[in-house]
């Protein structure tokens, strides 16, 4: 598994060693001309001038994923604008180069390479699906770039070149299941997801937790192809098996069809049982589903637009001022917003834009101004964060009904859940 869990320090050491080896003759040769080494904040030829620094934004603006990724682009642009208004990073204004991944994974790899090799950006904020990240990851590792990845995802990965600003699966799932178990005194669980890696891994973790920790029973586990729109059969199965908790990770257009048909089939989610718990429906998705179709649903995530803290109020206000008053903000959008701020903090701690120094500075970076509250980067490049349970209301917003007491430690390779 060196592929994904490569030693963070090993890589750094090798590079520093290499660099110092190279530096000796260079230093001898250049001993007489100190001007060459003057720009100490950027020793690796990134696109940094005295006034500006270039970063990349890489999301799908076209294609099927554009629906989901739009919010992330907006959040990243807002964060960059706010940072610039505060004077930028190390006195340099951020300029962004936006590239379109076009919902096509090789395009993500290609554009990552363009951003790193041709544009020499100091950081990239982007990718959304696991597949796009997996495609771009080797490029970031090869050319030593820094990627800030916003989506909650399945874990099982830890790259020195990525900061994961969303939650990995265990952070999101375990707290939610514990809460649901306590609330309903559940004995039977039904797992349902779209058919790809994130729901399958999430359900695997959920199943292990339900069977081994909660000592309860999973009465059904179902997957439907991405984009599937007919869910009457699975709804009948849910009716037949009478689970106490239905745990859902359906994504994209299927979501809309599923909740509409659930409602039409006479399942009232506002009732006590079964309890519907999702990890995939943010406020963004509710916009398409319609609040009336999803009222009463519970969601387990780290952020909801309705979080009552002051950071979040200011964030929501700024977001609406920039992108329109009707816009909604979901979990991933907020995580994308954290990216530029975490990068700024790391650059300032390191006193340099150099990727290696930013990487070294990153673990331990804290952000007290995050809309979700306090967050901190873990050694494994994921964020410590709280998990919250939201209760969907008719107007398409979540009411926060529970919040974990402590920050939850990210654990991308959870023991006992693999």
């Amino acid at each position: 598994m060196r592929s994904s869990k490569r030693s963070l320090t090993g890589n750094v050491q090798r590079r520093t060693l290499l660099k110092s080896l190279l530096a000796i003759p260079a230093a001898i040769a250049l001993a007489g001309s100190p001007a060459v080494m003057a720009d100490s904040v950027n020793t690796t030829g990134l696109a940094v001038t005295d006034d500006t620094v270039k970063v990349g934004i890489l999301h799908s603006v076209t294609g099927t994923m554009a629906i989901s990724e739009t919010g992330s682009v907006q959040a990243e642009k807002l964060a960059i604008e706010q940072i610039n208004a505060m004077g930028g990073v190390l006195g340099r204004k951020i300029e962004f180069i936006q590239e379109d991944g076009a919902s096509d994974w090789p395009t993500f790899a290609e554009k990552s390479k363009k951003l790193l090799v041709n544009d020499k950006v100091a950081a990239v904020f982007g990718c959304w699906t696991s597949a796009s990240r997996k495609a771009a990851l080797p490029v970031f590792e090869q050319y030593n770039g820094m990627l800030y990845y916003p989506t909650f995802y399945e874990g099982l990965e830890q790259s020195p070149n990525v900061i994961y600003t969303g939650q990995e699966a265990t952070q999101q799932i375990l707290e939610g299941l514990d809460w649901a178990n306590e609330k309903t005194d559940a004995k039977k669980y039904f797992l349902l997801g779209s058919d790809y890696i994130w729901p399958r891994t999430s359900n695997k973790i959920a199943r292990k937790h339900i069977e081994n920790v909660l000592k309860d029973k999973v009465v059904g586990e179902e997957y439907y192809p991405l984009g599937h729109t007919q869910f009457n059969s699975v709804i009948n199965k849910i009716k037949l098996k009478k689970p106490d908790v239905v745990f859902i990770s359906v994504v994209g257009g299927s979501n809309v069809a599923f909740y509409k048909q659930l409602k039409a089939a006479g399942i009232d989610m506002t009732k006590e049982k079964p309890l519907f718990l999702t990890i995939s429906v943010t406020e963004d998705e509710i916009l398409g589903i319609g609040g009336e179709n999803i009222e009463g649903m519970y969601a387990s995530m780290k952020y909801f637009q309705s979080l009552p803290n002051d950071n979040n109020k200011a964030f929501v206000e700024a977001f609406k001022a920039k992108w329109g008053k009707d816009i909604v903000i979901g979990d991933v959008t907020q995580a994308a917003y954290l990216g530029p701020w975490l990068w700024k903090a790391a650059v300032e701690k390191a006193g340099s834009f150099d990727i290696d120094k930013v990487r070294e500075a990153s673990p331990g970076i804290e952000l007290t101004t995050a809309p979700e509250g306090y967050v901190k980067i873990h050694e494994n490049h994921h964020l410590w964060s709280k998990t919250r349970i939201g209760h969907a209301k008719l107007d398409g917003q979540y009411e926060v009904v529970y919040e974990s007491e402590e920050l939850i430690e990210p654990d991308p390779f959870p023991e006992g859940y693999q």
């Binding site: 060196r2 096509d104 994974w105 041709n118 990851l137 890696i197 399958r200 991405l226 390779f413 693999q418």
Partner: protein
Amino acid sequence: MNKVGSFIERYQLSHFIILAVIIFVVMPLALDSFRLNMVGKYLTYAFVALGLVLCWGYGGILSLGQGVFFGLGGYCMAMFLKLEASSPENTAIQSTPGIPDFMDWNQLTELPWFWEPFHSFAFTIVAILVLPAIFAFIIGVAMFKRRVGGVYFAIITQAVAAILTILIIGQQGYTGGVNGITDLRTLHGWDIRTDEAKNILYFVNGVLLFVCLFAARFIIKSKLGRLLVAMREREDRVRFSGYDVSSFKIFIFCAAATISAVGGAMFTLQVGFMSPTFVGTGPSIEMVIFCALGGRLAILGAVYGALVVNWAKTSFSESFPELWLFAMGALFIGVVMAFPNGLAGLYQTYIAPWLQKYVPEKFHWIVTNKYAEEKPVSATTSATTEGSETEDSSADTKKSEKGDLSHAGN
């Protein structure tokens, strides 16, 4: 005439040389390593487009599932590379070392049987060439023996592509699921991720493309090629003449599948991963447009078509991502309505006669073959009815036959 001339006329030869100069000299000199690698990626699509010229342009069989064969080739190569990348030392952290990481995440504890042979490079190469052909053969026998053709064939191949995509995504423990097979590193210990390796792969890709181009040229110029055209025009007459029509169709479909698979394998090598997105229905149709733009009867056109469309896609989406789909859509409609013979037709109709005016007569053979002026079929007339398009293409055949004869006379 020398031996090459027996299936490539002088005029054709000059165009082959021009393309070779563009691919092997101009591109590497003009582009940096990053852009060159991108061109290399586009050229892998040219394999598919070339396969389509054979089976659609000449055989009259439109397959909307060529992505399946591209994907099969790509997956075979990816499986080999993944096994090499998952050596027990590299994967020591896993609960079962020595198997690809995604299998470990899916609780597989041993390598599935159909992965085993891909430890061998020789087997992989054979699989790339033969597996897609076998798959095409099965589809072909079932369909062509029952005389299913045209539209029905297109729709069924499209469904096959859809099925395969769902299957690959669903069986993620065995296939890597929607993420595909990623993080490929070395080929027999040779790191394929370095710029140097990518440059070399670009040239390997170019050479393979020319091998396929020559093979295609050979097929078209052989008796088989002429039979295919005859079948496309009047299948019943060919059948009544005593030929087994379906075998020829099956053959050309298999040949197209193999050529596409070579492209897929080269894609995996150059891009470093393979995913089910290339197998789906969307990319498969997109590949048809590469062929249509180049000219469905022009094997060199296939290469230019793939290059032009992808180049436009990249540069358009860099500057106007929102407008890209409009441009692409307009291209589809425009090519079909105004230039059914694509760039090749455009060249023959407008550019070649214009060039002829300025090129000394001695060098006319570079610009066009001497019978070109007999055939100024304007795009509009050929667009009106199939009849005239048929004449157009059969004129093409007659003309090239004459070309052959004249060379024989030489």
